[in-house]
């Protein structure tokens, strides 16, 4: 399986990524590649930098050193003969279109209907006419099992339903890669399943996914590769079964043990 992956096209290439908030270094010298159709789960304790790493991929966070390339395109910066300089707002926007993102807090727009949430970017960014955008929007909502909620407002939906709308909203723009930032952490336990099911379907369809998660079960089942971060460093990465069955670093062992203990 790993061999097959290695022969595939690289869609995200991160090299020597270092990110600081003031004096604190939150990511240091991260190297990571993600291949087409791969599901990569980022795991690690709180504050390990996994969400920040995800946010650097679509340049929601800037970075100080190294490079993040998505489909060969450097994120957030332009190489010039005089060195690297910050890319314009327009260029950053364009380079983000390959990436869909789903947040822990859903971040739906509460004043718009579910359908308007999903079609907003289709209309204002891709310039599609309303009817065409709504056809796509309905198809995406059907895909996440929410056809009957088209005219509802987010506040009338459960957390799990809201998160599925957020996934539909991201998918509507036909991204090449989906980023998930702890998509189930804000959900009541009984609502987690529906969201994971949608993500499982996406993975089965061959969507490239990078998922920050605390759901070790999901990671073990769906991830092709698992990456363990701690204190801003990439400590260990490998195939999912390898990471969960035979972890090498003592830190990863300790992390998995504490997770298993909590699970009882």
């Amino acid at each position: 399986m790993f061999m097959k992956i290695q022969n595939m096209e690289t869609v995200i290439e991160i090299e020597g990524l270092t990110k600081r908030f003031g004096q604190a270094t939150v990511l240091s010298d991260i190297d990571l590649r993600v291949y087409a159709s791969e599901v990569v789960c980022l795991i690690g304790p709180s504050g390990s930098g996994k969400s920040t790493l995800l946010r650097c991929i679509n340049f929601l966070e800037s970075y100080e050193e190294g490079s993040v390339k998505v489909l060969g395109r450097l994120m957030g910066f332009e190489e010039t003969p005089g060195g690297r300089r910050r890319a314009s707002e327009r260029v950053v926007r364009a380079s983000r279109l390959a990436l869909g993102m789903v947040f822990q807090q859903f971040n739906l727009w509460p004043h718009l209907t579910v359908l308007d949430n999903v079609t907003e970017a289709l209309r204002s960014v891709k310039g599609l006419p309303r009817a065409e955008a709504e056809d796509i929007g309905r198809a995406m909502l059907a895909k996440v099992g929410l056809s009957e909620k088209v005219r509802s407002h987010p506040a009338s939906l459960s957390g799990g339903q809201q998160q599925r709308v957020a996934i539909a909203r991201a998918l509507a723009m036909a991204p090449k890669i989906m980023l998930f930032d702890e998509p189930t952490s804000a959900l009541d336990p009984e609502l987690v399943g529906g969201v994971l099911e949608v993500m499982r379907d996406l993975a089965a369809e061959g969507m490239t996914m990078v998922v920050v998660t605390h759901e070790m079960g999901f990671a073990a089942e769906v991830a092709d590769r698992v990456v363990f971060l701690e204190a801003g460093r990439l400590v260990e990465q490998g195939l999912a079964e390898q990471i969960f069955q035979s972890p090498e670093s003592p830190r990863l062992k300790a992390f998995l043990k504490s997770w298993n203990d909590r699970r009882g």
Binding site: L60, H111, A121, V125, M173
Partner: protein
């Protein structure tokens, strides 16, 4: 108490009240646009723009409306701009309310979770679209109570424009008093009209808020 006089003066007072409403609501509407722009400038990452907006807001909140009104009325002709009293009145009230409205809107923007803006950015929405489609509609809803309050304050303050001969409710009342020498009756009538206008405006405000709220299933985070 001469009730007949009050009833007899009602048509004139009502015309004055209409002018009061016109001046105040025009200033509120213009102040909404200017105040919104000011609040964006105030929150801008550009330090100079932000400092300029902050200066404007503090300065205008510090100038008494009467002083501002007379400044606009007398200074504009001095620099060659002929301003009829009505225009000067609306301009002064707009300049004043814009400063207060800017702070109201800034408070509203601060309440919207930044994640909503991130979600919009990630989807490729431009900054202008984010403001007009995502932020402003929510902010207007959020600040309706504060805005209604500002309308009431401005409506009462508009009585000051009587000093530059705009024939609104206060001016009409003064004219009636000088004709009839019955200040008690006339000013009581004017007082009741001010209260009535403000009650109507605040009822309208709550109704509007309920209606918009109802359209979005009531609940907001």
């Amino acid at each position: 108490m001469d009730l007949g006089l009050i009833i007899g003066s009602l048509p004139a007072l009502a015309r004055g009240a209409a002018m009061t409403l016109f001046v105040s609501l025009t200033a509120i509407a213009l102040g909404l646009v200017l105040g919104m722009l000011l609040s964006f400038a105030r929150m801008s990452e550009n330090r100079w723009l932000s400092a300029a907006a902050r200066f404007y807001i503090s300065a205008l909140r510090g100038i008494p409306i009467l002083v501002l009104l007379l400044m606009v009325f007398y200074l504009l002709p001095a620099v060659g701009l002929e301003a009829p009293p009505l225009v000067a009145a609306i301009a002064a009230l707009t300049l004043n309310t814009a400063a207060f409205q800017a702070e109201i809107y800034r408070g509203g923007f601060a309440v919207i979770p930044p994640g909503q803006i991130e979600a919009a950015r990630v989807l490729g929405l431009g900054e202008t679209r984010i403001k007009t489609r995502i932020l402003i509609p929510q902010v207007i809803w959020l600040v309706t109570p504060a805005l209604v309050n500002e309308i009431i304050v401005l409506l009462k303050n508009s009585s000051l424009v009587s000093v530059i001969a705009v024939t609104e409710l206060m001016r009409v009342s003064q004219q009636l008093v000088s004709k009839t020498y019955k200040p008690t009756e006339v000013y009581l009538a004017a007082c009741l009209l001010y209260v009535l206008m403000n009650l109507c405006l605040s009822a309208l405000g709550s109704r509007l808020r309920r209606r918009i709220g109802g359209a979005s299933a009531g609940g907001r985070p």
